[in-house]
């Protein structure tokens, strides 16, 4: 009943369901109610990792190496545990910088290098073609086997079939058609395909169910549970060997390498990158994926060993390929429906892998391989074409077809040389070469473009030499001696025992040398070289992406700017006019502006346009396109240094500022103090002026008053008239004296007084003063005594008139305070230590010690309390003091209340050599 056309019909029906799921997913996404925004869907979609290799090949591997099929699943399980750190960073970078493929990721990190993008694409295509061909092999093989039901016939050698009868060809073509339908209906700026993800998740469920059902059937249907299978298998020596690790040729080394290899490939396989990174909707989905995905792997592997053992026991000696047990066991038991279901499960596994892988590859081929070349070809004048989106889509469609055809060609050519699993591992080893560039790129800022290119090339070369060429040799295209004796007979260069490293299986061997070359050369070349500005910027953006989480639009390295009028058509050409306008509208809204036309043409806008474009044509091409529009000048090293310098300048400036403000504070404090001093002096001056004015006005008052009285009243009696006139005269004199003294003091203090300094005989001076004051003394009836004789006295250098002035001042003061009739004033002279000393002593009321300094202040007169208003100006003593001090002397008073007062001054002696003797003798006497 399982005729060919039934199978085909069922297959197409299944694919139709898939398509419907995808279509529904896309429609929901467009309506904004995505069905894949769900961590379970995400985790299931990750299971695209499990292709026909898992579905069929695990059993085959288990049959030959026992649990040696496990490392390939251990790796992802371990890696996924680290995903919260590594994968989240990769996803964040991808989303933030609009990265669309693994080639885009690597090229973007290393300075948007188109060269690197090309290299990665080529390696990816070459590496993955065998993997695709093995899917074709599995699908076509399973179809063929099922068709021959109820006989169990192994598919004939592929080379024996004429092409047009080859089901594999038709399968390849059909897969191409479906891939095109799934993945190239329109261009999305982010290269996301929501419908596709939904379909893949659906497929993951189908294949898991298929395997579980077959496994359950074998374990519990054919046998009676796990226990029985293992018990029975123990009895077969060969099978028993399978169940122990040591005897199956598995070494810990092999396990280690294989685990490591699969750890890398869960990230670096293009389809895995596409599904787990590019199609990721929400970083948080990783949390569930971290345990859901390993759970899935566990479930799908639970029955591998039982099926393998069961198959080997049931088909012992019949030459049934272990790879086919999943299908042939139900067939052998006449379970048609189950066999069909198994076939569908295998179909799921294969189509899922092929579709996603091919879409990922075609995106890379289009963006990183074809478009850059086309953009350079001037005569195509692509810059002027209004709508390039159709061109892009058709390039991708051709790429899909091409890749599948290459897969088919490989299938026919290399066909039977390898079992499924081995072929898969070869692909793993190829894409593993991306790992140093990727992981180095996100954790090490020092990786340079040259280092990445060199490392990648070296690793790929080693891979080609140690795995690809040997596969050709094993298929017969190269002489077998190439393998056994090395090229040109050089044993050290034996492709699978390089430099004598033997004991490793070919995969581990290849992995060891290729990783060594790749990582080593990557590091050495990176350290030896320098990064360009763009590289440095990109490196920082990648490694520090978590620090810039919410900054989607990056600016800063664009120097030019372009207006929306220019950018919109550019974007429209690649994304389609509608999508381009939508994108700008959304951006404008985010900027708080109503329409895109109002957007400012600045570096941010350019960066935004670049990221949008990158989604369509890849980062490197986008940069080229936008740069041609913007005519940017990349910032020179100087400018970047300036920016860095600015930071340190700002710091230095702020330190300067601090210092200046401190200095300013100090200066302000000084100024304040000076101001206060000036104000004080001003006040003092004001006080002086005010006092002088007052003193001047007082005599004037009397003068005016009496003058007016006398003028007004002619009838005043003569005695009174005389009295008044006398007062007028006296006050006039007083006024004159005051004025003179004020002027005098002013002159002396300001230094503009004239001094006529000559040698003076002190006796003469004293005699003169006494004579002048004698009238005053007589009137006051005060006795004046002096010891200055008529002989020559001590000599000083002074102004005669001034010195007389001082003595008269002292004498008249003394007279004023003495009581008439009882007063006695004595003038004494003395000489000591080169100084002349003169004392004027009175027997007046004395001056209390508190007032000893006060008497020398301007306008201060003591004696208010006892003698009433003192006569005099109050300026005499200050003037005398200044005169004495001018000549290098000192004037002071010694006195106590009730004991009289002695005013003394000293002056430096003028000692003419010749007359020294007589003076000293005089002084002693």
């Amino acid at each position: 009943m399982l005729q060919g056309w039934v199978i085909v019909l069922v297959a197409f029906a299944y694919l139709g369901v898939l398509f419907a799921v995808a279509y529904y997913g896309d429609k929901r996404a467009e309506a904004g109610r995505s069905i894949i925004a769900n961590p379970y869907i995400y985790a299931l979609s990750l299971a695209v990792y499990c292709s026909t290799w898992t579905f069929y090949g695990s059993v085959g591997r288990a049959a030959s190496t026992g649990i040696g099929f496990l490392p390939v699943y251990l790796g992802p399980t371990l890696m996924v545990a680290l995903w919260w750190y590594t994968m989240r960073k990769i996803i964040r970078i991808t989303k933030a910088y609009r990265i669309t493929s693994i080639a885009d990721f690597i090229s973007s990190r290393y300075g948007k290098s188109q060269m690197l993008g090309r290299l990665v694409t080529v390696i990816a295509v070459i590496g993955v073609i065998p993997y695709i061909s093995l899917q074709l092999k599995a699908i076509s093989g399973s179809f063929t086997i099922l068709r021959h039901y109820p006989r169990i016939v192994m598919p004939a050698q592929a080379v024996a079939q004429p092409i047009l009868n080859d089901t594999a060809l038709y399968i390849a073509l059909m897969l191409a058609a479906f891939t095109i339908l799934f993945g190239t209906r329109h261009l999305d700026a982010t290269e996301r395909h929501e419908g596709l993800v939904a379909a893949i998740a659906f497929e993951s469920v189908v294949k898991l169910l298929g395997f579980l059902v077959v496994g359950a059937f074998v374990t519990f249907g054919i046998y009676r549970g796990f226990g029985e299978i293992f018990r029975l298998a123990q009895q077969v020596p060969r099978l028993r060997a399978l169940m122990t690790v040591a005897d199956t040729g598995n070494t810990y080394g092999t396990w280690g390498f294989l685990t490591f290899l699969s750890m890398l490939s869960i990230v670096t396989l293009p389809r895995q990158f596409q599904i787990s990174v590019v199609e990721n909707v929400d970083e948080d989905h990783l949390r569930k994926a971290i345990w859901l995905f390993p759970l899935y792997l566990f479930l799908i592997n639970v029955f591998v060993l039982p099926i393998a053992l069961g198959g080997m026991m049931l088909f012992a000696g019949r030459g049934v390929d272990a790879d086919t047990f999943v299908l042939t066991l139900p067939m052998a038991q006449q379970k048609e429906a189950l066999a069909l279901f198994a076939f569908i499960g295998g179909l799921s596994a294969g189509t899922g892998m092929v579709i996603v892988e091919t879409i990922a590859l075609s995106t890379m081929v289009c963006n990183d391989l074809v478009m850059p070349v086309l953009l350079r070809v001037k005569w195509l004048r692509l810059n002027e074409r209004p709508d390039l989106s159709r061109l892009l889509l058709s390039i991708r469609r051709w790429a899909i077809t091409g890749i599948l055809m290459l897969g088919y060609i490989h299938f026919r050519a290399a066909g039977e040389a390898y079992a499924l699993v081995a072929t898969g591992l070869i692909s793993f080893a190829a894409v593993a070469q991306f790992a140093p560039a990727i992981f180095g790129g996100i954790y090490w800022r020092g990786g340079t473009r040259d280092g990445a290119i060199a490392g990648l090339s070296a690793g790929f070369a080693v891979w080609a030499y140690t795995l690809l060429l040997p596969s050709f040799a094993k298929s017969g295209w190269l002489p077998a001696s190439f393998l056994t004796e090395g090229p040109f007979g050089i044993p050290l260069l034996k492709p699978q025992q390089l430099f004598g490293l033997s004991g490793l299986d070919e995969i581990s061997h290849c992995l060891f040398w290729s990783m060594l070359a790749n990582i080593g050369i990557h590091v050495v070349v990176s350290l030896a070289g320098r990064q360009s500005i763009t590289e440095t910027g990109q490196a920082t953006m990648f490694v520090d992406v978590f620090r810039r989480t919410q900054a989607p639009e990056r600016s800063g390295l664009w120097r030019g700017s372009a207006a929306v009028e220019d950018l919109l058509p550019l974007l429209g050409r690649f994304l389609g006019p509608d999508r381009a306008r939508e994108a700008f509208l959304a951006y404008a809204r985010r900027r708080g502006v109503d329409s895109p036309e109002q957007l400012r043409a600045d570096a941010d806008l350019v960066a935004f346009a670049e990221t949008q474009l990158a989604g369509a044509i890849g980062g490197a091409s986008a940069r080229v396109m936008v740069a041609s529009l913007v005519q940017e000048q990349p910032p020179g090293l100087d400018e970047v240094m300036d920016i860095l310098d600015e930071a340190s300048q700002v710091r230095a400036y702020s330190r300067q500022l601090e210092q200046k403000s401190r200095e300013l504070e100090a200066a302000t404090a000084e100024l304040r103090a000076a101001n206060k001093l000036l104000q004080e002096l001003d006040r003092m001056k004001d006080d002086f002026m005010s006092t002088v004015t007052h003193e001047l006005r007082t005599p004037l008052t009397s003068i005016r008053a009496f003058s007016e009285i006398l003028l007004e009243d002619p009838e005043i009696h003569l005695p009174e008239r005389k009295r008044f006139l006398a007062i007028i005269v006296k006050e006039t004199q007083r006024l004159t004296r005051l004025i003179n003294q004020v002027l005098d003091l002013s002159k002396i203090e300001s230094g503009s007084a004239e001094w006529h300094t000559t040698e003076l005989d002190v006796h003469e001076v004293i005699r003169e003063s006494v004579e002048t004051s004698s009238q005053l003394f007589r009137e006051s009836r005060v006795e004046l005594v002096t010891s200055a004789g008529t002989d020559a006295g001590p000599r000083v250098m002074a102004d005669r008139d001034r010195l007389v002035q001082v003595l008269i001042n002292l004498l008249s003061n003394a007279v004023k305070v003495c009581r008439p009739g009882e007063g006695r004033v004595e003038i004494r002279l003395g000489v000591s230590n080169g100084f002349l000393r003169v004392d004027v002593q009175d027997n007046g009321p004395g001056i209390s010690p508190a007032d000893h300094e006060t008497v020398f202040e301007k306008f201060r007169q003591v004696g208010d309390t006892l003698t009433g208003k003192p006569k005099g100006t109050g300026l005499g003593l200050p003037i005398s003091r200044r005169i004495v001090e001018h000549f290098g002397g000192r004037l002071w008073v010694e006195s106590e209340l009730g004991k009289g007062a002695t005013f003394s001054f000293i002056l430096p002696l003028e000692v003419p050599a010749a007359k020294a003797g007589p003076e000293l003798a005089q002084a002693a006497g």
């Binding site: 007082t698 005599p699 008052t701 009397s702 008053a705 009496f706 009285i709 208010d864 309390t865």
Partner: protein, 124 residues
């Protein structure tokens, strides 16, 4: 109805002139030569008008004025500040303290007499 005038001034010659002027107008005159004596004199028998100098020993004229004004008995007493201090601030201070008149020296005898007569004429 003789009005009594207290002259508070420490310059003897000015006292003589003021005394002459006031007596000539028929006023009774008393003299105090410092602030404390002034207050004592007022306390003994309140004059109708005080001719008050500012630069006085023991207590200056401003204080005397303040004290005089503080006492409710002497509300009606006229105070004429007579001083060589003529700055605006001083004038303002004097008026603020309650002086009725502020005259700067040297003064015009005619004006002073007229103003005194007016002050004493109005308040009865």
């Amino acid at each position: 109805m003789g009005k009594r005038i207290l002259i508070v001034e420490d310059e003897p010659n000015i006292v003589i002139s003021l005394e002459f002027l006031m007596k000539r107008e028929g006023f009774e005159v008393e003299v105090a030569t410092d602030g404390e004596a002034a207050l004592m004199a007022v306390g003994e028998s309140a004059p109708d008008l005080v001719l008050l100098d500012i630069m006085l020993p023991k207590m200056n004229g401003f204080e005397v004025c303040q004290k005089l004004r503080a006492d409710p008995r002497w509300r009606g007493m006229k105070i004429v500040m007579l001083t060589a201090k003529g700055r605006e601030t001083e004038v303002a201070k004097g008026m603020a303290l309650g002086a009725d008149l502020y005259v700067t020296k040297p003064f015009s005898t005619k004006d002073l007499v007229a103003q005194v007569k007016e002050l004493l004429g109005s308040g009865t």
